[in-house]
Symmetry: C2
Subunit: 117 residues, 2 copies
DNA sequence: GCAATGTGCAGCTTCCAGGTTGCATGTCGG
DNA sequence: CCGACATGCAACCTGGAAGCTGCACATTGC
């Protein structure tokens, strides 16, 4: 009920909820991991470590951070642990940026009208 | 030329370049500052500090981080220092997220075709 | 069963981000 | 000129992030 009064609140909630996602994407290594998983499907930790200069343990920690942010999830398969991209949270973050841009556009319009009056 | 071979490289460059922007947005306080500046136009440090529980110096540091990421810029006006939102970098970040989502979509299509064959 | 491979867990450094306090500087109003 | 306000600068503290090493555990293949 009353979706009209709930809409601004949902925007703000979406914003602060997206902070961890942005923080997770803020590291160059993690951003690279996300891009790799996006392009390559499900990969094991060893495979993800192969392309980098850091240790397997470091990669594991980064994957854990990404999982906490809801950007990736793991699939256990035998002795391997495959990681896969999860698009949901990233879409939310994208919508948050869209909301900010839209808000900025509205602010410009308001400013223009104020100057004209 | 060969725009087909150059396109993925440009994508990767945009991605790694967006890491600092995401890192800047990764803090809840900074995300709130960006949203406030988006809605309110140009505000002084004292004004931006008014709504928070932290010190003016802390706000100054956050603004400096946002400025380094290219998300805001300052306008000196008398004894005040007004800060304003800069939409360019945020749009780049948005496009980077779009690129990732698109890449994921393509990966799904490839996977589907592979399974079907 | 045994070796190889893939991973998990714990502990340990190092470094920086976030925040504060204290004081100095510049600017506006009268 | 002087007080009030807005900001700048520097030093300092603290917690957590990012990385490593070392060892233990599970799974596969022969």
């Amino acid at each position: 009920m009353s979706p009209r009064t709930e809409r601004p609140r949902r925007k703000a909630a979406t914003l602060s909820a997206s902070a961890p996602v942005f923080a997770a994407l803020g590291d160059a290594t993690r951003l690279r991991l996300v891009a790799t998983l996006c392009a390559g499907g499900a990969l094991s930790i060893a495979q993800l470590t192969a392309g980098t200069t850091i240790t397997r343990q470091a990669v594991t920690k980064h994957l854990q951070v990404l999982a906490d942010a809801g950007l990736v999830h793991d699939l256990r398969q035998g002795r391997e642990r495959l990681w896969e991209f999860t698009p949901a949270r990233l879409d939310e973050a994208r919508q948050a940026l869209d909301a900010i841009s839209a808000q900025w556009g509205e602010a410009l319009v308001r400013l223009q009208r104020f100057v004209e009056s």
